[in-house]
Symmetry: C2
Subunit: 136 residues, 2 copies
DNA sequence: CTTTCTGTGTAATATTATCTAACATCTATT
DNA sequence: AATAGATGTTAGATAATATTACACAGAAAG
């Protein structure tokens, strides 16, 4: 069983995730609705979250607290998640650009730069994988 | 946050534990009823299991499959759990003896010896902490 | 300074998951 | 055959979650 698979096992109901992340159910569902997370579902359609999901929610929360909006968070997440090559990142960015006005894009870039500045030094580090510190 | 505390955090509802251990809800509740596990409860009285609980259930399952009964499992578990000094183990054993007929005690000892023989070599090793292999 | 949009709160209702308790069943022991 | 231990199964109650709709405050836009 691969390590990656373990962290992606659907384990937690939303109630536990609420306590783990200090987010409300409303927030968690809203983030899912906006494709920031894709938790698994039970046969009866109830959400089941993995370690990775909880980690991601913790990161989303940190970004929210820094003032990013959903679009900005989406960009930041997909910018670090796939760990793909530079060419692919560029391609994705170009595609995104088609659906955005210049003003929107500039705002996003400003937000992201601020985020990177904030996290480069100080309290903002070590967001991703924070849950790893709670369990082995 | 101590490592021990992390493994004792109440996280999983019984449905997840069923899948994780391949035990039925009936079995899990029965083992609780017989004091083999003490899962936490939500405010609404629903069970919440920790990593340690799941580990313990996996061990209980292995012992069940070896033919041990509840009393035998209880002995084996409390024999390795507290990790206490030799004198204390003896004391506990003596106390237990008071409530048992000789025949019962002999049967238990026979079972435990068989268990130790079975686990000393072969497939029965590494029962406790098995869950650690599924998650970090 | 209104208007609009975003993110979240809240309430209502429906459905799923779990709980307890009781009785049934099967196996091994007496 | 009778008994006890471990589990299956069912019924009814309660808890947890899902979805949807409406409300609302603050930010953004006009």
């Amino acid at each position: 069983m691969s390590d990656d698979l373990r962290r992606n096992m659907a384990l937690f109901p939303i109630g536990i995730v609420m306590k783990l992340t200090d987010l409300t159910a409303r927030q968690i569902r809203y983030y899912e609705q906006n494709d920031l997370i894709q938790p698994a579902r039970t046969e009866g359609k109830q959400r089941l979250f993995s370690f990775n999901d909880v980690d991601r929610l913790l990161e989303i929360k940190a970004l929210i607290e820094k003032g990013l909006n959903i679009a900005g968070i989406k960009q930041v997440l997909q910018m670090q998640e796939p760990a793909m090559e530079q060419t692919e990142i560029t391609t994705t960015s170009e595609e995104k650009r088609k659906d955005m006005s210049d003003k929107e894009l500039h705002q996003l870039l400003r937000q992201q730069i601020m985020y990177r500045d904030a996290t480069r030094h100080g309290e903002g580090a070590l967001i991703r994988g924070e849950l790893s510190r709670f369990f082995h």
